[in-house]
């Protein structure tokens, strides 16, 4: 039995105040691909950084970390010894590709550097050529040109590939990846995961993949470790762990991650400890949803050039939202002094309706224009051409005074729990902000009621946002959105930044409140699974155009447009995993 590529025994990491990792022990065999799952704050990143010896000065690590059976314990090795190992025998890829490259240095030079540092290539010229080969291996378009580019000229996915090429440059025996694809779009994520699997297999290196997304681990790794609050609670082959998890925490994690398992009312199963919401009464939808006329599904905007525009999801009678030939162009800065600046087409004459009470999901990758559409619907941005009527209010060119009434009717919930609440304001003022001309007493009462409605008790009012977890902050954000009893709720990636377990609770809350207040919901997201669970209709948007729209079930099971098909196949989903995970 050859020595394990990496053996970690009783790894403890503590800060001056408390111990964060409580004695981790695991081995990774040569060529074995291991996944490490856990929610944020479980210490999974800490484990990887302590193996690489990159812990910040304030933290201290004890125990032992040995590479391929060597006697040197990396935790106590001196800087010089560690530098010989790092980037050579073991390498690491980090989560945030946008900031992981030196903005002032060309990409090729940064890749070549890892080779010149370890003298695996004798001379800068060879290192530069080898770098271009590596960029080709990670399938970057035109690698020679890419090598000369600066990081800001590449997309997130391309930069992650550069980092991967850099990590694999010296054929490391162990590759550590800390959430390598979390910040990427679905399609880019699929490609990068494919590359990681491929490169590791070619070089026979072993892999430790850290992520919070069980589906990603299922797709790439053969064995999985589950971490919870600084300890490994489960360790075993992926198939066995997914099919029959032993530890209760793993059970909950898997359940929360699988959005297809719902109870009769369409709510996800949340961990038993969840507090029951107020009187979950079955609300009959009293007003039957307005009839939706075909054709609500078409592969592209206009069937015949110059013909009438295809109106997606057309609604007879009075729709909540009516959009006709909406376009939005931007002037990109730069360009020559007199030549007109190049025009960027944000949205290209969209036409669609949303019926009152309908839950429309808008799915698309970053840069597809879904955020621009969302901002126009909320009158935060003016359309370049076309008409937009929301709740009877014509938005094109409306002045802020005319929009006063509209502002109470339409509210937004944002993506980033950290950034959507003003850190310097108390919760009471945050939630009460949308209210206008309301006495102090009535304001206090309404805020208290609204907070209760989202499952937070009253003593929360006088605290500041930084004293709450991500899930609680999103609840506050929802409370703020609903305080003025809006008729239309727009959610912009409302759950993407949340942990899996917390995500389930927030989705349930959203569904509950949309039913209870009979809201029309427009849910914008890049996560097809969430949209499938929450929305009854979905519109797929690509490069400023709606390419497909229809009932969620239909679109997911029988996608018509090639782009939709690519999106759906790129999303790793849970159910079909069990059979494929045979060793």
């Amino acid at each position: 039995m050859t020595a394990p590529a990496l053996s970690v025994t009783d790894l403890r990491v503590s800060s001056p105040f408390m111990e964060l990792l409580h004695g981790l022990s695991f081995d990774i065999a040569v060529g074995e691909r291991v996944g490490l799952i856990g929610e944020s704050g479980s210490g999974k990143s800490l484990a990887a950084t302590s193996v690489m010896g990159l812990l910040p000065d304030t933290l201290t690590a004890t125990g032992s970390v040995r590479l391929n059976g060597g006697d040197a314990n990396l935790l106590t090795a001196d800087e010089r010894r560690l530098n010989q190992v790092r980037g050579n025998t073991m390498a690491m890829v980090f989560q945030e590709p946008m900031t992981a490259l030196n903005p002032l240095m060309r990409v090729g030079a940064q890749v070549a550097e890892i080779m010149t540092v370890h003298r695996t290539q004798n001379g800068r010229r060879q290192a530069q050529d080898r770098a271009i080969e590596l960029l080709a291996q990670v399938r970057l378009p035109d690698p020679a040109q890419a090598a000369l580019a600066f990081p800001h000229q590449l997309s997130g996915g391309q930069r992650q590939r550069v980092l991967l090429a850099m990590a694999m440059a010296n054929d490391p025996q162990l590759l550590l990846c800390d959430e390598p694809t979390t910040a990427l779009d679905v399609t880019a994520q699929a490609e990068v995961l494919g590359l990681i699997g491929g490169l590791v297999a070619d070089r026979g290196s072993s892999l430790l993949l850290i992520t919070h997304d069980i589906a990603v681990v299922a797709q790439v790794c053969r064995r999985v470790l589950v971490m919870h609050r600084g300890t490994i609670v489960e360790d075993g082959p992926v198939g066995r762990v997914l099919a029959a998890p032993k530890h209760p925490y793993t059970k909950n994690l898997i359940a929360a991650a699988d959005l297809s398992v719902v109870d009769d009312r369409g709510r996800l199963r949340t961990p038993p400890a969840a507090r029951t919401l107020i009187a979950p009464s079955r609300i009959e939808a009293d007003a039957a949803p307005a009839a939706i006329l075909p054709p609500y599904r078409a592969a592209h905007q206009r069937l015949a050039p110059g013909g009438p525009p295809i109106v997606f999801n057309e609604v007879s009678g009075e729709p909540a939202i009516r959009v006709r030939e909406l376009s939005r162009q931007y002037r990109r800065p730069g360009g020559r002094l007199f030549a007109p600046k190049p025009i960027v087409h944000g949205l290209r004459d969209l036409s669609f309706d949303v019926a009152a009470g309908q839950r429309l999901g808008i799915v698309g990758e970053s840069g597809s224009g879904k955020s621009t559409l969302m901002r126009i619907l909320c009158a935060l941005d003016q359309p370049s051409s076309g008409t937009v009527d929301v709740l009877g209010q014509q938005l094109g060119g409306a002045s802020e005074r005319q929009l006063r009434e509209f502002r109470r009717e339409v509210q937004i919930v944002f993506q980033d729990p950290m950034g959507s609440l003003d850190p310097r304001m108390k919760v009471r003022d945050i939630v009460a902000e949308p209210l206008q001309h309301v006495g102090r007493a009535e304001m206090r009462a309404r805020v208290e009621a609204q907070l209760a409605a989202v499952g937070l008790d009253a003593d929360v009012m006088d605290r500041h946002p930084h004293q709450f977890s991500g899930g609680q902050r999103q609840r506050i954000s929802i409370a703020r959105a609903l305080i003025t009893r809006p008729r239309l709720l727009v959610a912009d990636e409302a759950v993407s930044a949340l942990d899996v377990s917390v995500r389930a609770q927030v989705l349930n809350l959203l569904a509950e409140l949309v039913d209870q207040y009979r809201l029309t919901l427009v849910f914008v997201s890049h996560d097809l699974g969430v949209v499938r669970h929450l929305c009854d209709t979905v519109a797929v948007i690509s490069d400023g155009r709606i390419v497909e729209c229809g009932p969620t079930g239909d679109v997911y099971d029988r996608p018509l447009h090639p782009y939709t098909r690519k999106l759906i196949s790129a999303t790793p989903s849970m159910p079909d995993l069990a059979p494929r995970s045979a060793p």
Partner: protein
Amino acid sequence: MTAIRPAKSARRTVRGGDATLRAGLALIGLVVLAAVVSLWWTPFDPEGIFSDSILLPPGSEHLLGTDSFGRDVFSSLLRGAQISLLVGTVAVSIAAVLGVPFGIVAGMNPGRLDQFMMRGNDVSLAFPALLLAIIFGAIYGAGTVTAMVALGIGTAPAFALIARSGTRQIMSCEYVLAARASGKNGLFIGVRHVLPNISGMLIVQASVSFGIAVLAEAALSYLGLGTPPPTPSWGRMLQDRMPRATCSSNRCSLSGRESPLPSRCWASTCSVTACAIDSTLACR
């Protein structure tokens, strides 16, 4: 529902800087105490003339000796603290009142208005505080007020730049978008959201500018443009002493009428304390 777990505190605990922080705060306390005490009590009248006790060396009666007008150096120091604190505070507040709104408006309206205001800022940057002090001194006569106004206007562009860069960061946050979505106008967003969030940066800039203003007042007094006599100011006290300070002991004998070098440089340590004020707040 998980119980409300206290999220990890965002504020960075101060470890390395503790020593300098405590030292700085102690020095500020000393200076403020001196200023407050001297409001109504000083051992001797720092503005009187006592021709019988000219240039006495430090002794029991006069802690730090007397100056060429026979005035007690220690009481002048206490009274001088008032001037330094006054100059620092007024100059910084003028700079803040002029610079911060300018910076916030520029930050909140990127594009043409921002470019226009920034060019205006460039022009005002080209008139450093000392130049303004010289010109105002000539127009309105040298004095503490002219010095403070000149220093204030001279440091305003620095505040404008800091406020602008802070505002641009805040404007990209989603809670500003949420406020706009609920119909709040520019003024509301500026006051309720932008100002509180950039106040941290502004305090650091204020403390740095405070130290620089106190030093600039000393320089202005040296050039004869600062606080006119007889009100004592540290800058001028330093300047009055200089002739004797140059005559280091071994070159010429210390006749009785001299107060030795250490006491004369005592006034310089006061300006050190003045600047410690900026170091404490800025080092966090």
